[in-house]
């Protein structure tokens, strides 16, 4: 915890709350809520993040949950967590190490304790530290009183029992009472961090509108937790984080998947062309399908297909029909869609394929982050089969990338792969809500003039014309067999094939002319350039800033376009003595850079299903310059 000032003895009012104890003002804090996957930790974390958002903080979150839905209670593998960093300054990651750990049971403590900052605060739900749970977590003795936690500031609170007492007269069942304890914990934390609870009460009533008795019970639990923190002598002080200096505007908290969904709707509205999503549920991409399924009052059709292949194939069919075709998936689903992507390349139809990457290979780590599908996206198809690839750097950036993907797809009549990942798909950050009127329109043109029409004639971007079936006089056939360069009829002519292979490659390479000039943070030339892509953005930005503050010459460029690569990248790489590429894989972008620019780069690899810590990148920078 980054403590800036001070103690004070006078009672004072903060956020509408009468404070009767010292308030420590801190710059930023990292809090992690952990418990059983059924304990409601995702909800607690989410609600807490909403509250800090309303206070005007910048923040970033990281939900970390197991792939089991409700793993057996109390087990190590069933632990679900939600981490948030909020600050009075800019926040780019959910934080390296928690300042505060709220642990609902021994398993949660055990699995998360190694991450907690030395001297950090631990709030433990002591009632859950019983013999059975300790055994399940593999504790020989109770860590709350055997000295394990002497290096931490430990607060033991029997949250389950206190919740029980608070709710015993409400008439709801024991099981239902058990489900309210996360709101008790939330109440505690809201008090500790000087947040009002009125907004949260409203949220609860809205969320449980159909079950007023449950809403009431949760409100009581919330208030009880809040009151307990206020009245107990346990907490010496409470904490306050000043509002961040954020660009004025209207904000909302948004996850990467939600932002992507909104971006796709925006693309459809900007293009004035309906959107069709064909998809099959797969973690961690399912949210996009769910979000769009609830937006049928837009020009959106969602189709939960029978499998991944039908997901993309239905989108190809829709694109042939003249709408924006979209499919969403994660790694294993990408593998299944491969053949159809090749078809889309041959048909030269606009289509967006979204891969919210997860740990691989095979089923891998469904709920964890990894960036190991980059080479698959660029190369993973039979034949010479170029597809443009772009990647989002943060949750909010998914919005822009979703629109950008369709912009490329319709302008160049090509499938486009949009890479997100489990790290940003589920993580949230504040999103400055754009003015729809100021979003750049997306130009779509359908050819309707049959005069001189050739299905595979091309414009200056080498794109063929998009023709909607139903247009009189322009009936034509497309297909996966090699086709004549103008008529689109089947052609096995050797030189025609070579010509088509070259044309398809040149078309995608030509997209480089649309890629904006790269923006470099830090010196324009010098000792060290960090090249990043995708969700490593936040960690790299913060590490670079810290290194710069420590007097190091470090630059950072973050790539959105990965195929084709930006035209000015080669020159940029040549301006630095050393190039470092941090990636959550074994060095896939590094391979591309070496191959493309004959430039040596240093690979910084991590494949633990986790984001880079800022400190990991910072330490590597210090080793290099």
């Amino acid at each position: 915890m980054n403590t800036q000032t001070m103690t004070m003895d006078e009672p004072r009012v903060v956020g509408g709350i009468q404070k009767t104890r010292p308030i420590e003002e801190i710059k930023s804090v990292v809090i992690r809520f952990v418990g059983d996957s059924g304990d409601g930790m995702q909800l607690t974390g989410n609600e807490f993040s909403k509250s800090v958002a309303r206070a005007g903080h910048d923040f970033a979150t990281h939900p970390d949950y197991p792939s089991e839905i409700r793993a057996p209670t109390g087990t190590l593998f069933g632990v679900s967590g939600y981490q948030i960093q909020f600050s009075s300054g800019q926040v780019f990651t959910s934080g390296d190490a928690p300042d505060v750990l709220v642990a609902m049971n021994p398993a949660a403590l055990k699995t998360n304790l190694p991450d907690v900052k030395h001297g950090g605060m631990i709030i433990a739900n002591s009632g859950a530290f019983n013999k059975t749970n300790l055994q399940k977590a593999g504790y020989q003795s109770n860590p709350l009183d055997d000295g394990t936690l002497t290096d931490f500031r430990l607060y033991t609170i029997d949250i389950a029992d206190l919740t029980n007492q608070a709710l015993k007269d409400t008439g709801i069942s024991k099981k239902e009472i058990g489900r309210c304890k996360n709101y008790y914990a939330l109440g505690l934390m809201l008090y500790l961090y000087s947040r009002p609870i009125e907004d949260e009460e409203q949220n609860i009533r809205a969320k449980f509108a159909k079950k007023p008795e449950i809403a009431e019970a949760n409100v009581i639990a919330l208030r009880a937790g809040y009151a307990y923190a206020e009245s107990t002598e346990m907490f010496v002080s409470t904490y306050q984080v000043r509002a961040a200096d954020i660009k004025p505007g209207r904000y909302r908290s948004i996850t990467g998947n939600h932002a992507a969904a909104l971006g796709f709707v925006a693309a459809s509205e900007l293009a004035k062309v309906p959107l069709f999503l064909g998809s099959y549920p797969i973690t961690p991409a399912t949210d996009i399908l769910q979000e769009l399924s609830a937006l049928k009052h837009f020009n959106i059709t969602t189709f939960q297909a029978e499998d991944e292949i039908a997901g993309i194939c239905s989108a190809i069919g829709a694109a042939y029909g003249g709408v924006l075709g979209l499919t969403t998936t994660s790694g294993p689903g990408m593998a299944l869609k491969t053949e159809a992507m090749g078809l889309a390349v041959m048909l030269e139809l606009p289509l967006v394929i979204t891969n919210v990457q997860r740990g691989g290979p095979s089923t891998g780590l469904p709920t964890k982050v990894e960036q190991s599908d980059l080479l698959q996206a660029i190369y993973g198809r039979n034949g010479e089969c170029p597809i443009p690839v772009i990647a989002a750097r943060s949750p909010a950036d998914c919005f822009d990338c979703a629109i950008e993907a369709f912009r490329i797809a319709v302008k160049y009549m090509t499938p486009v792969i949009f890479l997100s990942d489990g790290g940003i798909g589920n993580a949230a950050e504040p999103w400055r809500i754009p003015d729809p009127a100021k979003l750049r329109p997306l130009d779509v043109w359908f050819r309707t003039d049959p005069d001189g029409f050739q299905p595979y004639a091309r414009d200056e971007n080498l794109a063929r014309a998009w023709v909607r079936p139903g247009t009189p006089g322009m009936e034509h056939r497309v297909g996966g067999l090699e086709k004549h360069f103008l008529t689109g009829n089947i052609s096995h002519d050797p030189f025609n094939h070579e010509r088509m292979v070259d044309l398809r490659a040149a078309k995608i390479a030509g997209i480089a002319k649309d890629i904006p000039q790269l923006e470099v943070e830090g010196p324009q030339s010098g000792d060290l350039l960090i090249v990043g892509w995708g969700s490593t953005y936040g960690s790299i930005v913060q590490a670079r800033e810290q290194a710069e503050a420590a007097g190091k010459s470090v630059a950072h460029v973050h790539l959105r376009h990965l195929n084709p690569l930006p035209a000015d990248l080669g020159d940029l790489l040549a301006r630095y003595k050393t190039v470092l590429v941090p990636e959550l894989n074994l060095g896939q972008l590094s391979k591309l850079l070496r191959e493309r620019y004959l430039c040596d780069v240093i690979v910084m690899s991590k494949v633990q299903g986790k984001m880079f810590k800022v400190s990991e990148i910072y330490d590597r920078i210090l080793e290099l310059c």
């Binding site: 909403k50 958002a53 309303r54 509002a243 660009k247 004025p248 505007g249 209207r250 904000y251 909302r252 908290s253 909104l262 709707v265 509205e269 309906p274 069709f276 064909g278 937006l295 049928k296 009052h297 837009f298 959106i300 059709t301 189709f303 297909a305 029978e306 292949i309 039908a310 194939c313 239905s314 989108a315 190809i316 069919g317 829709a318 694109a319 042939y320 029909g321 003249g322 709408v323 053949e339 159809a340 090749g342 078809l343 048909l347 754009p434 729809p436 909607r468 079936p469 139903g470 247009t471 009189p472 006089g473 009936e475 056939r477 497309v478 297909g479 996966g480 067999l481 009829n489 089947i490």
Partner: protein
């Protein structure tokens, strides 16, 4: 619409593309192509409203020969592609042309789910009981024990009936016809074209190179009346050269009887009912095997809402309830806050 009335009536020629048809001379596919080209101008649908989608296999070359919109896609996926097209553009008349390998092996999943949803596709499956394009390997409809290039000692795969599969998937229109009987083929295709929802037609089709004569008994005018049972809605199941044979049920077992012999009268025969809510009768017919005749015609034709209609309705309801979506409202929904 006024414009349309001025357009001269379409003919079969209007549906022939400029591409040379490249099937083997004598292939049963020619007959299907000819009958489809004969049928389409009679349906009152403008030519540009047709789209033919195929997968891979001999039959899947079909779209190239049709002067309509079309796509020759990838193996087994035509129903999925066609479903997306139909959902995006419900007003189009979307046809799928496929084979026994394309629909029943590699594309089995898409085949059954299209029918389960009852999406408005016309699916024609050309069943020659062999893989032709890869030159003679057994297919999911090849007979048990059949010797092919990949089953030199005889196939140990048990075949299944496309009609049974379609019925099992809940298809609302299921029919079978044969390439050699052009009027029957045309009639059956017309019924399929007029059906709302998924219409499935199995065409028993001869592969002259790799499985020649598979349906000789049905093609030969001398034998076909004894080999086939022409299904007619509401009519007793009679067949045979002089129509004297019939199908009688003994419990759940069908048997061939002769009307006028052993006290059997027409009243003893089973009566075909294609619109029965219960698909039992259709399934029972789909399982007919020698010495029972091969049923041809419409096994099942029932009314059910088409998937694309329901999908359109959902969107209309959502708009009626919430108004047409605006980005302004969408972006600003949920928990927002303002920084001054």
């Amino acid at each position: 619409m006024n414009q349309m009335t001025e357009i001269k009536p379409l003919t079969r020629k209007d549906f022939e593309s400029d591409q040379d048809v490249r099937w083997c001379p004598g292939c049963g596919d020619y007959a299907v192509l000819a009958q489809v080209q004969k049928l389409l101008p009679t349906l009152g649908i403008p030519r540009e409203q047709f789209a033919f989608i195929s997968g891979i296999g001999c039959s899947s070359r079909f779209p190239y020969y049709m002067e309509t919109y079309g796509m020759h896609s990838i193996h087994g996926r035509a129903p999925a592609i066609a479903s997306g097209l139909k959902l995006a553009r419900p007003e189009l008349s979307v046809w799928v042309v496929s084979g026994d390998g394309d629909s029943l092996a590699i594309g089995g999943n898409h085949f059954i789910h299209a029918m389960r949803r009852n999406i408005g596709l016309k699916i024609i499956l050309l069943n020659n009981r062999i893989y032709g394009l890869t030159k003679g390997q057994y297919s999911p409809t090849s007979e048990f024990g059949k010797k092919t290039k990949t089953t030199p000692l005889g196939s140990i795969d048990r075949p299944f009936s496309p009609i049974s599969v379609a019925l099992g998937a809940g298809a609302t229109f299921v029919a079978r016809t044969v390439d050699s009987d052009h009027p029957h083929l045309l009639d059956t295709l017309r019924r399929a074209a007029e059906h709302r929802g998924t219409a499935f037609v199995e065409v028993l089709q001869n592969c002259i190179v790799f499985n020649d004569g598979a349906y000789d008994a049905l093609a030969n005018k001398e034998t076909r009346d004894d080999a086939r049972l022409l299904l007619e809605h509401g009519k007793p199941m009679r067949f045979g050269k002089d129509g004297s044979k019939g199908i009688r049920m003994r419990g759940f077992e069908p048997e061939v009887v002769t009307v006028g012999e052993g006290g059997v009268t027409e009243a003893d025969l089973s009566v075909h009912d294609e619109s029965a809510a219960n698909g039992g009768l259709a399934f029972f017919l789909s399982q007919f095997a020698a010495p029972l005749p091969v049923p041809l015609g419409v096994f099942r034709a029932v009314e059910a809402p088409a998937y694309e209609t329901l999908s359109t309705q959902l969107a209309a309801d959502a708009r009626a309830q919430r108004g047409s979506g605006t980005l302004e409202k969408l972006f600003n929904s949920g928990d927002t806050w303002t920084i001054d």
